[in-house]
């Protein structure tokens, strides 16, 4: 069961601004999804290794050589507020 406070906490962690309606809907929907997902606790996973990658690969390496990368101006082309060769963002501190 997910409560309103948890929804707000996770929304903060996710950097998502939610409307009141969205918070109410998510409280209900996340609880319902997690009820189903909780069936996973029926399985005995003692001693089973977690899978993070399905193809057996190890140490995929290449020579560490300098080579051309994305041009700075092109990288900035899609930015909402490029400035002086950089990405400009609002101040990290809220105005007092």
């Amino acid at each position: 069961m997910i409560e309103r406070e948890q929804v707000l906490h996770v929304a903060r962690l996710s950097r998502l601004k939610l409307s009141e309606e969205e918070v109410a809907a998510l409280e209900h929907e996340l609880s319902s999804i997690l009820d189903h997902v909780d069936r996973l606790t029926e399985i005995d996973v003692e001693g089973v290794e977690p899978t993070s990658h399905v193809v057996p690969l190890e140490n995929v390496l290449r020579d560490d050589l300098p080579r051309p990368s994305l041009d700075r101006d092109r990288a900035l082309e899609g930015a909402p507020d490029p400035h002086d060769g950089a990405f400009r963002v609002p101040s990290p501190q809220a105005e007092a």
Partner: protein, 485 residues
Amino acid sequence: MAEHELLAATATETAGLIADGVVSSDECLNAWLDRAAEDRLNGYLWKADRAAAMRGVDPDSGAPGAGVPVAVKDIFCTTGVPTTAGSRILEGYIPPYTSTALSRLSASGMPMIGKTNMDEFAMGSSNENSAYGPVLNPWDHGRVPGGSSGGSAAVVAGRLAPWALGTDTGGSIRQPAALCGIVGLKPTYGAISRYGMIAFASSLDQCGPLTRDVTDAALMLSRLQGRDEMDSTSVGIEGGVELPSAVDLNGLRFGIPADLIGEGLEAGVRKVFEQTTAAIERLGGSIESIALPHSDHGISAYYVLAPAEASTNLARYDGVRYGMRESEDDLVSMYEETRGAGFGPEVKRRIMLGTYALSSGYYEAYYGRAQRVRTMIVRDFDKAFGQVDFVVTPTSPTVAFGLGEKTGDPWTMYLNDLYTVPMSLAGIPAISIPAGTAGPAGGGPELPVGFQIAAPAFAEQSLLEAAFALEREIGFEQEPQEVER
């Protein structure tokens, strides 16, 4: 050659007509651009003109498939072409580079005729999560085409493109292929580079072909597969891929996972599935019952793992480097308002679910446990493939459902991927081929039913051979209303 004959040909046949000089690559491109312009399905988010379609392409190179235009899911970054992943947050975004998969098709001489509609960031099974409106099923405009590669499936089934490129994370190629009556192949994880493919769940995402028949799927796969220095998880398929030619299934063993095929399966879909297993036996294959005891937990594990990976992958959409920005107050408000306004409801739901599953105090209970269950599903398949050559299931438990029919409850929508998710978790290749038609549970005209065949990792060639032989035996010939008009 009359235009309707050209549009009726498969991609492989069309490539042959171009190579033999029966049709010029120019005529072919014009015919398909005209056809794409008639899209009434909302299948395309962007359509090329001649110049854009031909950029960097030599249609007369003689490479396999050269000159046959291709439609591409709008999740593949394309230099100079808007790429949205079906999201408002990337509206107007024009990538400065092109994905490896699309570059490979271009290098094979295939013009790109358009970018296809999709569920936002590939999250969905009905295409109703696109910020740019749903795609309509060419068989019945009141029904969904499936998702998330719904646009790619609909334009191929509706003959608005010869073939298309899609992506599959938990069924997003196979399920829409089934619901639209075409072929969809999800290759082994690692068969094709993911470079430039907008990430959803990186341990599961894999691109592949949506095509009119199995031969076309083999042809496109042969051009796509291979190791790419830009994706260190790509390994390619050893020995490459050839066009299939098998005429029977003698001595091959097909396993039906009894645990998985139970409730929720529509009667019409079950009937077509049984007819298809009978066709396998007529071709000399044997049908056996196998156990995949943990596969019915696949959806639960998937809906922890995929949202967890998505929540981290989608952290990059923050209003700083690309896409839209809302608010200029302080930095955190800018992040929160941009993401709040830019993402749709399903994407927000999955970011929230994934963040919760990864958050302090819940990590081991959800993410850790789901990863262990994934291992058990992988082992189940390993064991099954010690007994049989292939695993077969229906692709989807139902035929195409009505627009809006399943949007009320997320879990009901998630269950569409019941049969496709286990293969994704195991990383193994699986193909859906059209196997017949069935009436929907609530009554109505017949709709296509898909049959899924899965094989061990990197066994694409034997998978394609089996699918090819079975496709011929089934002889699926029906066309959607979009084509007959």
